[in-house]
Amino acid sequence: MNASELALSKKDNSLTIVMNVLPSHLRKMLQRLQQLQPEEMARLEELRLRQNRPMVLGFSDEDVFLHREGGLTAHSERAYFVSADDIQRTTQMVSNSSIYALEEELKNGYITLTGGHRVGITGKVVADQGRVKTIKYISGFNIRISRQVVGAADQLLRHLISPKGDVYHTMLISPPRCGKTTILRDIVRQLSSGIQKFNFPGVTVGVVDERSEIAGCYRGIPQLNVGTRSDVLDSCPKASGMMMLLRSMSPQVIATDEIGRMEDVEALEEVLNAGVKVLTTAHGAAVDDIEKRPAIKRLLKLQAIERLVVLDRSKGPGTVKQVLDGITYRPLGVKRC
């Protein structure tokens, strides 16, 4: 890596990693954009490639097409159209030329890159007896750039730690793209490293990272900062992962992303009853929404979750809309921050 590349990587490491999976001409176009409009590109959240259709760059506030001569455009007729060759090359880059090694991932419809960037995949699904076997004829990608925001949970943490210094059982709730994972990661980082401001000494946090998004592990080693006292089980199914951590790593807090299945909730119950604190997230726009989901309804009925945090995008991703007491559903005083 030479000096200029190093400078670039310091500026926006995540974008560099993500650009490496694109064919070289697309990579060059984006690199030029990054040089010309570094601030704009730092807000880039998604790259969408759909075969024979314009390439879309998703920013935090709008979607723009990539111009076929470089630059950005709002007109689809001047946009760069993604070719079959682009899709094939991206497939190879994303999979490290090893589609055969990604059978599980293809069944779930996404692959996670080093650094926790999730690549969603569409195409023709091959099913066997109603279960997805694999995706054949891959034709579309959504590459989500995950950026670690150190300090994303600063405003929130005071609500999550009790006056005695215990961590509350907490659930983060928001629709996709609102920064659940980013905030969860920062909570894990701060809890495990300790927070001087609150005289909080730091606790052992077990992370079950089924989608490799929280810690962004590469060969089992976290690539993102998840603090000093965190243990990560990478790409582990949530339910079994929680039990494994509980038995083997004596965590004080267990963190996991996106619960929704009944087995996840059953495992969570075990954790709750084992005296370990729980940090988790769920998809939904409000508490009313998630109450309709059977698995989560069961969890809420236990009245064990002490803090419900609702996020939205009203002031950019990761806006804390509300913090509710999990038992009384009474909002705790938060300004949108």
């Binding site: 490496n20 990579r27 497939t91 490290n96 030329s97 090694a101 059978e103």
Partner: protein, 172 residues
């Protein structure tokens, strides 16, 4: 005196030319067998370990015979270079260099090139099929090479030396 030195030079160079042609004939069946066993290792890595291709290639390069290890190692390095090239392109480029420096012939290289077009782009079962096909084709090539070697090794060994002697006799 000068004549004797000249005669020796001719004899040595003709003999050497003959031996080196014969050596290529001898080497080819060996190289092909090494390639077959390397592909067998790759198949195991892919089908049982589901090892990503660059890692699998590295494993194979470490374990297979030195004379073919370079092919796998260099393909891996090209894949990891981050230039956005596909497995097929990486293998093609490496093969160009490799076939120049080894005893394998064009027909052998084209078996590997055909394998390259499908390497890494499908599920495990499919990969195994392609690897088995390539191995089978290499086995046939190796059998042919074996026959050719049996015929030609002795021939060229003698031809070199005897050819040299003939030239000397003519010039004396």
């Amino acid at each position: 005196m000068l004549k004797i030195i000249g005669a020796l030079v001719i004899l040595c160079s003709c003999g050497y030319a003959g031996f080196s042609v014969a050596r290529d004939y001898q080497r080819r069946p060996k190289d092909l067998r090494y390639l077959q066993s390397a592909l067998q290792m790759l198949e195991t890595e892919i089908s049982y370990g589901a090892t990503p291709l660059p890692d699998a290639l590295e494993q194979v390069a470490n374990r297979c015979d030195k004379s073919v290890a370079q092919l796998f190692l260099e393909t891996r390095n090209r894949l990891l270079s981050g230039d956005g090239i596909t497995a097929r392109e990486a293998l093609d480029d490496t093969l160009k260099k490799f076939s120049r420096n080894s005893a394998i012939k064009n027909s052998d290289a084209s078996v590997l090139r055909a394998l390259g077009t499908s390497l890494g782009i499908s599920d495990r079962e499919d990969q195994v099929k392609h690897l088995q096909l390539a191995r089978e084709q290499l086995r046939i090539e190796a059998a042919k090479a074996e026959e050719e070697a049996a015929k030609n090794v002795k021939l060229y060994n003698y031809l070199g030396v005897l050819g040299g002697l003939t030239i000397i006799l003519i010039f004396i």
